[in-house]
């Protein structure tokens, strides 16, 4: 540009210059604006980037905190199954030092049997995408560094980066929860089995039936293949099989009676310690391994039934699955309950047996009392009858004295004779009263086997027979029809005849003392019982023997045969006596056959 070239030129020059200047200015302004914008954008960009970076950093921080603070173990493994990350909880849960697990295969966190399953499953998943376990919340068994196994719940996530696949597992220790569940389940099971057992012992029934219910409960609730209960017989020291449920229900056979101390059952009872085994095939206590193998038996549990230090028996079960700790716990508790039940039941049974024996003794006593009350009766008869007899004798004697002194006047004699006749009549009425009393005694007539009655009386007189060294011969006809009669009254008659026979031989020295008792049925269908002795016999008329107060014995009352005849006659029978030659006597009675037994 030239500053001195004419006005026009100069003006033109000035104009051109000004134009240029403003254009420059505009240009500068535009550029500046552009720059400013660029700068602003840049600043925005920077700010944005910084924000992202910060976000990222904060997110990582948060994750780190989460990972480190998590109580669950979080483990990441690569596609080779090698641990690439483990959070602090992992080392805490599994007992490893921090950093100790990274680089190790995941399988170190598993018990041996799981490892192969895991490796195979994982390999298959990588190849096929088929998961071998549920990835969300699967319960597995884990193993700590010191080999302790514990229950865990595991969830998995998968992440692929740069062609690498990473798997992150979240592992929660649920052993405490499991334990609580287990305790609860055990408690429930225990309550159920105890309930069964209590119910069984509450039943009215034999001990066998009760124990069978207990064994059934073990099969049903404890998954036993079969369960058995033996009771110790204290006298023989034998364990006797009293209940068997499940696979075997018979009570006889090889294990029906086991001597104390032999086989595993006898050992349990003797040593009073339970025997448990989940390794039957290698356990020396299991005798029949071939059987266990064939039947697929896996576990055995046997418990002594103890009351204090006393073995009552053994209960045992075989199972096709290993016997669980839960089952063991239940068995231990139920064994006590069963033992107590057996003890109580036994006490009850003993009490009942005692009552029964007592009742038998009472019956026996009542019988003996009735039989011996003949003696009491004799005393009473003697007193009653002796009063008029005394009066008769006194009156007679007085008359004889007066007669001897020639002082007996007819009036005195008449009065005395009146007295004598009255007392004689009185004596005989006393006798009929007594006889009526004896025969009308509420006779309890039942159908009886006469031979049984004979045997009972022979048993009752056993001591007397021995004391007098008498030989008893019996010829009892078997299969006799029954008679209708009062057992005790017939016993009284037989007792009387046998005692009479024994007494009739008391003085014998020259021949054996023997009594022959026979029963038969005679041609007119009557039962005939005879008692024959080798004694002194009788010389009087047989009928005289049956009159009251007739006796051949020194201390006899003379009432036995009289009463016996009354008793037999009240049974519709007859009692008679026959002297035997050369010595002895036979007393026999007949009885009609019971009506319903007539042909």
């Amino acid at each position: 540009m030239r500053p001195h070239s004419g006005v026009r030129q100069e003006t033109q020059q000035v104009s051109e210059q000004s134009e240029r200047a403003s254009e420059l200015e505009r240009s500068v302004a535009r550029r500046t604006a552009e720059l400013a914008k660029a700068n602003e954008d840049l600043q925005k960009e920077v700010a944005s980037r910084r924000r992202v970076e910060e976000d990222l950093r904060s997110s990582e921080e948060r994750h780190r905190v989460v990972l480190e603070a998590a109580s669950d173990a979080i483990v990441t493994m690569d596609d080779h199954g090698v641990i690439v990350f483990a959070n602090p909880a992992t080392t805490r849960l599994f007992g490893y030092e921090p950093g100790e697990v990274v680089g190790k295969p995941l399988t170190i966190l598993m018990p041996q049997p799981m490892r192969e399953l895991h490796v195979n499953g994982y390999r298959r998943y990588l190849a096929t995408g088929n998961r071998h376990i549920n990835w969300h919340g699967t319960e597995l068994t884990a193993m700590s560094r010191d080999g302790r196994e514990f229950q865990v719940e595991v969830s998995f996530g998968e992440l692929s980066t740069d062609g690498h696949r990473l798997f992150t597992g979240f592992i929660r220790d649920i052993s405490q929860r499991k334990q609580a569940e287990q305790i609860q389940a055990t408690a429930q099971l225990l309550a159920a089995v105890r309930g069964d057992v209590s119910l069984a012992f509450g039943m009215e029934g034999s001990l066998e039936a009760i124990l069978h219910e207990c064994a059934e409960s073990m099969v049903r609730r404890l998954d036993a293949a079969f369960a058995r209960i033996w009771i110790l017989n204290r006298e023989t020291s034998m364990l006797e099989l009293r209940a068997s449920a499940g696979l075997y229900t018979h009570l006889n056979g090889a294990h029906a009676r086991i001597p104390m101390g032999t086989l595993k059952i006898g050992t349990i009872a003797k040593e009073q310690r339970p025997v448990l085994s989940n390794d039957l095939l290698n356990d020396p206590r299991i005798s029949d391994k071939a059987w266990a193998k064939n039947e697929g038996m896996a576990g055995f549990a046997g418990y002594p039934l103890l009351i204090g230090a006393r073995s009552l028996g053994v209960m045992a079960m075989f199972s096709r699955k290993p016997v669980t700790t839960q089952t063991i716990e239940v068995l231990a508790s139920v064994a006590d309950l069963i033992a107590q039940g057996i003890e109580r039941k036994r006490a009850e049974e003993e009490l009942r047996a005692t009552e029964r024996r007592l009742k038998e003794m009472e019956t026996e006593l009542a019988r003996v009392v009735r039989v011996t009350s003949m003696g009491e009766l004799a005393a009473s008869i003697a007193h009653e009858v002796n009063q008029p007899l005394t009066a008769i004798v006194n009156n007679g004697s007085a008359c004889l004295r007066l007669l001897a002194n020639r002082k007996l006047d007819p009036e005195t004699l008449r009065l005395a004779l009146d007295e004598i006749v009255a007392d004689g009549t009185r004596a005989s009425s006393i006798l009929s009263r007594i006889r009526a009393f004896i025969t009308k005694q509420t006779a309890e007539k039942t159908t009886l086997n006469v031979n049984e009655v004979i045997q009972e009386v022979l048993a009752l007189t056993g001591r007397e027979i021995q004391a007098h060294r008498v030989l008893i011969h019996q010829q009892l006809k078997p299969g006799l029809p029954p008679v209708l009669g009062d057992r005790v009254q017939l016993q009284q008659v037989l007792l009387n005849l046998i005692i009479n026979g024994i007494e009739a031989m008391a003085t014998l020295t020259d021949r054996p003392r023997s009594i022959f008792v026979s029963s038969q049925i005679n041609p007119i269908n009557r039962i005939q019982v005879a008692v024959r002795d080798s004694g002194t016999g009788f010389s009087s008329q047989p009928e005289q023997l049956f009159s009251p107060f007739y006796t051949t014995k020194e201390h006899g009352m003379g009432m036995g045969l009289s009463i016996s005849r009354s008793l037999i006659e009240s049974h519709g029978g007859q009692l008679q006596a026959v002297p035997l030659s050369p010595h002895g006597a036979e007393f026999s009675f007949t009885l009609p056959v019971a009506p319903e037994a007539e042909p």
Binding site: H383, P388, T390, I392, N394, R401, A416
Partner: protein, 205 residues
Amino acid sequence: MTPPPIVFVLDDDASVRKSLTFLMTTIGLRVEAFSAPDEFLRKPLPDSPGCLVLDVRLPELNGLDFQRELALRKIHIPIVFITGYGDIPMSVRAMKDGAVEFLTKPFRDQDLLDAIHAAIERDRARREREQELKGIQNRFETLSSREREVACLVVQGLLNKQIADQLGTAENTVKVHRSRAMTKMHANSVADLVRMVQKLNDTMK
């Protein structure tokens, strides 16, 4: 002259009572019969030798227990037991408690009459003993206190002089007391006096 003996019969059976009365009167005994123990106890016993024929079985009281009851009441009447049915322990107890005889009904009349005679004899002897003792006692009562002292010392075998020394009196005075005592006691000799005093002593025991 002693009064005639009497037999008491205690039996609840009228026939027996009647026949026993008849039997005993034929030989001249006095008889009185009772049917119950308290009936017998209400009756004042006469002062004559006698015995009780007692049935063992009585309606209210056992005859053996009645025997003891009589002993407690100091009624010393000899007892002949009769019973319709007796055993050995029963008879042993009766005899130990002083029964004369234990007869089982019906008995021979002679056995009963023998027993009754023995019992009456026993009662008679007892009564005589009592009678004699009573006489001695009565006579002894008539002695003065000094005569009693002297009599007791004589019985101990002391001489008159020794007695006089012990009582602090003259020998002659002793002789007088002694003589009076002998007379009052109806003692013929010193031995007689000794026997009498001995009997008195026995009853005191």
